[in-house]
């Protein structure tokens, strides 16, 4: 199957700071592809290169076979981009924003209304409100409507759910699932690990490097170490003590527990080690790795 987005060894640096290091990935048609990584990992830079706002220093990328540098005019027609920051006109109303973006793409709201009915519908009572005065969730719906109004084949969404409440986030991902069912390819970035599980495939990115690409399940299944959730009476020194233990691969705080990856599956020796360090009420239970654990593992791997 031909790739919807094909990124080949893209590098980009800003004033000596390398934002992307030979990033390579492939997005298949009609999938939700997630780019997961912390702030400053290079997600936005990669997206801006893909939507032809930024030129890479090296490497190349194609969208549906069109080169992002040579065929930038085509790229701008077939992609819908939603920047991380709300970038519609604050002083135009909801409906003015929508018709403006429809008209500069040479279409009309009426012609493509079917594409956005479920997203734009809830906004219609506020059609004459200025966009700057909308709530975060409504702004996000409007931005998505404006990115979809010209019927793009690819949606590029840069951290669409940052700063949006939990209910709106859930709704938003449901809307993305509908778009995928309609055949649109979606490339989405997020700093939230729990959202990674909602993607068809994810790429983990850190310091401008793509560290792993797989199905969320595949990533989780590939987690190579036995994993335990640990708690004790003294939570504060616990991670430090666990890192001193000779079988420890990694130990990270995860909610109210510490996730401990072991090089050898020997929980009894962990408990006796902790007791020797003065811990009491030790609870040690085996747990299933999540995306975040995979991410941590890849980071540890990158350091070695």
């Amino acid at each position: 199957m031909k790739a919807a987005v094909d990124v080949r060894q893209i590098s980009k640096s800003f004033k000596g700071l390398q934002a992307l290091k030979e990033a390579t990935l492939e997005v298949r048609p009609s999938e939700i592809f997630g780019l997961v990584g912390p702030d400053g990992a290079g997600k936005t830079t990669l997206f801006r290169i893909l939507v032809s706002l930024l030129l890479p220093d090296g490497g190349s990328a194609t969208i549906l076979g069109h080169d992002t540098q040579k065929d930038y005019k085509m790229i701008r027609r077939i992609t819908g981009y939603m920047p991380g920051r709300f970038s519609l006109y604050h002083d135009l109303t909801v409906s003015e924003n929508l018709s403006f973006f429809a008209s500069i793409f040479g279409t009309t709201v009426r012609e493509n209304y079917h594409l956005i009915r479920d997203i734009y519908g809830p906004l219609e009572p506020f059609a004459h409100r200025q966009a700057g005065k909308l709530s975060g969730g409504m702004k996000q719906k409007l931005a998505l409507s404006c990115a979809l109004i010209h019927n793009p084949s690819l949606l590029v969404l840069d951290e669409p759910t940052t700063g949006v409440d939990a209910v709106s986030r859930k709704e938003f991902w449901e809307m993305l699932a509908v778009r995928r069912a309609e055949g649109i390819t979606i490339l989405v970035s997020t700093p939230y690990m729990d959202e990674a599980a909602l993607c068809d495939r994810v790429a983990l990115i850190q310091n401008g490097r793509i560290m792993g690409i797989d199905h969320p399940d595949g990533l989780v299944k590939a987690f190579p170490w036995p994993l335990y959730a640990v708690a004790s009476e003294m939570m504060y020194p616990l991670p430090g003590h666990l890192k001193e233990f000779h079988l420890t691969r990694s130990a990270y705080r995860f909610g109210d527990r510490i996730h401990l990856a072991l090089r050898e599956d020997d929980p009894e020796s962990v408990e006796s080690f902790l007791r020797s360090k003065g811990h009491t009420k030790i609870s040690l239970s085996s747990c299933k790795p999540g995306i975040e654990d995979c991410f941590m593992e890849l980071m540890v791997n990158g350091q070695h």
Binding site: L55, F100, G106
Partner: protein
Amino acid sequence: MHRILFIIQKEFIQIFRDRTMLPIIFLVPLIQMIILVYAATLEMKSIDMVIVDQDHSPLSRELRGKFEGSPFFRLRGVAESMALAERELHSDRADIILNIPADFEEAMVRNESSGVQLLISAINATAAGLTQAYSRRIIMAFIQEHMPQGSETVALPHISVESSFWYNPELDYKIYMLPGILVILVTIIGAFLTALNIVREKEKGTIEQINVTPVRKYQFITGKLVPFWIIAMLELAFGLSLGRLLFQIPVEGSLWVLFGFTAVYLLVALGIGLLISTMAGTQQQVMFIIFFFMLTFILMSGIFTPVESMPDWAHAVNIINPFAYFMRVIRMLLLKGSGFWEISKEFFSLLVYGSIMLGLAVWRYQKTT
């Protein structure tokens, strides 16, 4: 083509939705005209004067009377000594001292040479120059009157100079200033608002969203320029009507030529605004850059002081000073009634200048970085 119309429509919606916009467009010209035209006047009235009369003669009293009778002078008092009078000058209660020496009348009657002394505070050089001119005129008239009959001067051939001022017969300062103020207004609307508008799109990030659409560079820029071009033209019409109504400013030349020239002039003003906006990242930077250029260009344009009296390097700088062109042309058109041929050199210079500026701006504006 349609895309340009949609952008223009969007700009007009935004411009008129901004509540500060209408006052800027209509109140600013009104206030500036009234303030500048009345306050920036060169006519001097009520110059404070102190007289030191050491002669106490009928003749010295007559000279005093001449000054008191003049509308330009206001007699603050008669001082007994120069020291006292100088104190008045020093404490800024007086602008000028007239010192009449003790043997003034005697010398006049004997037809010997005599003199009066004028001490003028020259803190403001222009005011001092005018004060001196006014005083001299009064004193000369006084001397003429009291020239003894049959004295040598009468025998000299008498040349009387009659001068008349063309294009502004009463040397009305308002008529001189008002066209200049129109130039400033039109330029501010053109350059300032355009630059601020585009940089605001950068600051808010909305330009990103525009840059990923198929809108072409020239379409975006045309869509940005046309609204401010129209507003600036209306501003000129509005300012001109105000000037006609409030100050009876003459319109000797053709309005067609004036508006045609302004249309070309605005290409330069808008082009400069646009170019600045492609280089600046924030509205604050735009403000400072434009403020710098405006102040320099306005001072050099000849609005207050004649360009002819400026040094050669200033003439050279004025080649790139759009204000200088328009300042000269608007006065020629309004006051002198020049036709298109008299201003064609400026017209074509600005046409070239405007094309260069707009070309540079389109070239500098990058959708991709």
